[in-house]
């Protein structure tokens, strides 16, 4: 079993992967999210672990768009990782010597307030990941003075922590997904599942979004995430990346999918998988499997 992940070693993504597999020999770092997913599509790895949503920064567009472009993949698990940052350097230097900080733009955004208060003059040197910045510093990069990274990668790359608790929101958490190819078997329903979809709208009218959401509401299916993404051909044409509560084995989710398939120019299914929080779904009246079954039975009886 091989897992590609957004590397290098020590990233938050790597921490998420370690919830699934602690055997480092199975771990294959990728330079970015598209590369991690490409490895699954090409068969180089069996699964990819990538971030999909951050409680502060929102949806991870690189992941959402890489899922959308290319052969269909299947999400089989989600993992939550609390996000904590430290400021680290080659050696213990005073804060007023930190002028240039390398890190991933999301990390930079999540520490804005702390930086504004403590390092007023610091500027950002972007990196492809927080661990990548730590690794570059360990490798001797000279174009920055410190990095924002997670404590693990500071340790992993032998850096010195010069400030802790630098994240603006101490409760920040990032959600990661584990993705296989389309023929990966569906995880069994657990009663607390999520289903991830991509849905295009039939037209660019506001009413079209309303109509699409009614497909969910009519069957009592809640959304837990919705991201608009451009279709890409012109401004103002959107598709939506959606997580909804429930499993494709649930009749109410099947009814939503049937409704979307009928009325959307494009709907793609990226899998049903256990919710990381395992909070049981609260069913609205008339949306349990037996409600659908008895309703279908009644309609069938009318036809004879």
């Amino acid at each position: 079993m091989r897992f590609s992940y957004l590397g290098p070693r020590g990233t938050f993504t790597h921490m998420a992967l370690s919830q699934l597999s602690t055997n480092e020999e199975e771990h294959v770092p990728a330079i970015d999210v598209p590369a991690a997913l490409r490895m699954v599509r090409s068969g180089e790895t069996d699964f990819a672990v990538v971030p999909i949503e951050n409680s502060v920064e929102g949806g991870v567009n690189a992941t959402i768009d890489s899922l959308s472009n290319g052969s269909t993949l299947r999400i089989v698990a989600e993992m939550l990782v609390p996000i904590t940052f430290v400021l680290a350097a080659k050696k213990d230097i005073p804060l007023d010597q930190v002028k240039r900080i390398s890190t991933h733009p999301h990390a930079w955004a999540q520490c804005q307030n702390w930086i504004a208060e403590n390092l007023t003059e610091a500027s950002h040197v972007p990196a492809t990941s927080t661990a990548g910045a730590a690794k570059a510093m360990a490798d001797g990069a000279l174009n920055f003075d410190a990095v924002l990274c997670n404590p693990l990668s500071a340790e992993q790359y032998g850096l010195t922590v010069i400030a802790e608790g630098v994240a603006d929101n101490p409760d920040a958490v990032t959600r990661f997904i584990c993705v296989g190819t389309e023929d990966t078997p569906l995880p069994e329903p657990t009663g607390s599942d999520k289903t991830t979809l991509q849905v295009q709208l039939p037209s660019d009218e506001a009413g079209a979004l309303l109509t699409m959401l009614e497909q969910f509401a009519t069957r009592g299916v809640n959304l837990s995430r919705i991201e608009s993404r451009p279709v890409g051909d012109s401004l103002g044409r959107y598709q939506f990346s959606i997580d909804c509560e429930g499993h494709v084995a649930d009749e109410r989710v099947q009814a939503v999918l049937i409704g979307l398939h009928r009325t959307s120019p494009l709907v793609r299914f990226f899998g049903s998988y256990p919710s990381a929080l395992q909070k049981p779904v609260k069913l609205r009246p008339g949306t349990a499997n037996q409600d659908f079954a008895s309703a279908r039975g009644w309609v069938a009886s009318l036809l004879n």
Copy 2:
């Protein structure tokens, strides 16, 4: 084959029945709508012909409520009859001698303007049907001077027409239905069909009606008639009598029925039958049978 109908001979209902059967031996007049339907329920007749909707007076509550109360019946056909009235009497009398007019309250309502202009002092003597009034006059009733009835029954009961074209709306039309027991076979779909339902709301909130109508809208099914009727236990609790476009053999109608069955405390199906006007239903995108079939096929493919 025996047909009960809202009698006596010569009623508009009788005219509607004659579109189905011209053999008078098969016709069984009933004293009122509940009686006509009771005969079907008891097996005394095979079918009942009763009015359900008038273009001026609206839904015929006696029919709607008699369908709702008692064993389930099946509507197998609808017939349209243009409504025209004459003022008739035993012999040719001048209008100013007409002080009391007997007729059915609906007929009285539909000639209000003409009466207000031509017979300012006339008062209404109610009858159970327009033909019943004509028959009573022929039988020698003395408590009225003239009747409002259709031309046929004036002729049938040997009355003299003293004024024609007395209906306020010359285009008035009444819709009749032919009703059998629940085991009457469904008429085949024609592409221009109607389905008649009774639906109770889960609560007495305005939002409940909205939610119920969305079950139709989400599947692109139009309503052609909706009547609110009290549930009967208290003011403000309603159920609805509904005609919608389409046949229960149509997948979009089945999807509506499944949605209603799941979410309503009571839904009853009174049949699918050819629309009298045979105007083909204009399907909205994504609501044809093949759209449902291919959507279901897609969802099924996700489960394997």
Copy 3:
């Protein structure tokens, strides 16, 4: 002050009127509902008292349609009257001698079950009101053996009660309204008010009804009654008679009225008046007058 009402003396309507005025000299009986309202329109009386809704029989079409046709009237009060029936005759006769019963068709409908059980062979002789039947019997009519009327009119016309508690639903209640001309001052808001409207739909599509109901839902205004009535020009074109919670002095009701006026070909306002039950309206969040006022204040501030 003069009140026309659906007469003759002793009707349920008369009982409703007595909640407003006990001075019999002010009471003017009318032969039917349209006549009672015509007297107000012509200035013959100041107000009319007429039934609008029965918990068993539903909306009173004669009232709804007479409000709709002709100059605009104003409802200023509503009254509830519990509905009880007795079977009464000239003298005490055994039930098996009762073959023909005169009463108003609504009363007949509300005693169906009792009649079916106790007077299997009895037939209906329609009357314009239950009190009218009682009066006719007192006046010596011979074409029926007994009447179904309320206890008051049995007493009033000197009849003998031969059976009590004959109504199928002992909790039946009828709602009556008191109606003046358009220039009657609006009753003050009480916190538990009703507003009565007539609304036509912009098209005959099912979606049009949904859109109209959303005008209410968006402002959190509940409906307590909705009746579809034919526009009258052809089958399938409807207008709606609606009671909603709230007073036209409430901003949320004004917002509904503005929305309806913008989008409906016809909307008429028949008044705001205290609800007979005086159950306080439960406001949804964001729909109180101060919510509207502060929202308007905010928008005004953006324009400067």
Copy 4:
């Protein structure tokens, strides 16, 4: 007049700014979007020009979030800039010598296909802007071999273009906004305007989004952009950044704002300004200013 913008000189943002002001002395480059907006908030500049939406990459989160956090700003104009990229280096080198490419992550994403086909082994060196990458190369940076930037900045920084037309979508366009402080006067309505809002949902239910969108639909106001952004306190709580058609001087837009203000925990107004495309808004029936005015007049007449 001073304009901060996402610098350095030569960025696409700089091209957008040049549509408003060609006087270079008025231009103040900022190191990132938050910095450009901070200069306006602090009074250092009068306006900031920043990107808000890319037809390929979607909403620019840094801009959306920087508008949301901090004192309210006003958008007074929008500008469209077609997006074209070149691959440029210090001197003319063959493509197979290009191993590391520096550019902004959005630019990298928009040239993925071209790179995958022509530079299979190239890796990404992130930069804060495409012009920043070009400037760094001109300044002698050694950690990359080429940059992806716009033709203008290649010229501006004296680089050699080694490949043209490298963007995957030749029709890509980015939308920029010009932002002042809250007291900047509103641009006059032109008949083709946009209004930009931030709206939080009252709860985290799917139905809450539906309800919010109905505030727009009920008044016939179309959305041209909707982005979900995390509120930031936990996963699954969203706010929305919205562009809708129309000007706050339009009554229908005011009605939407009133509805949102009543029902959302937070709604912020970021301005009404002429749409760059100047395509006239197609009004739905009943949503013109005069429809609102006459409806309000009617309601006012009911209150007297």
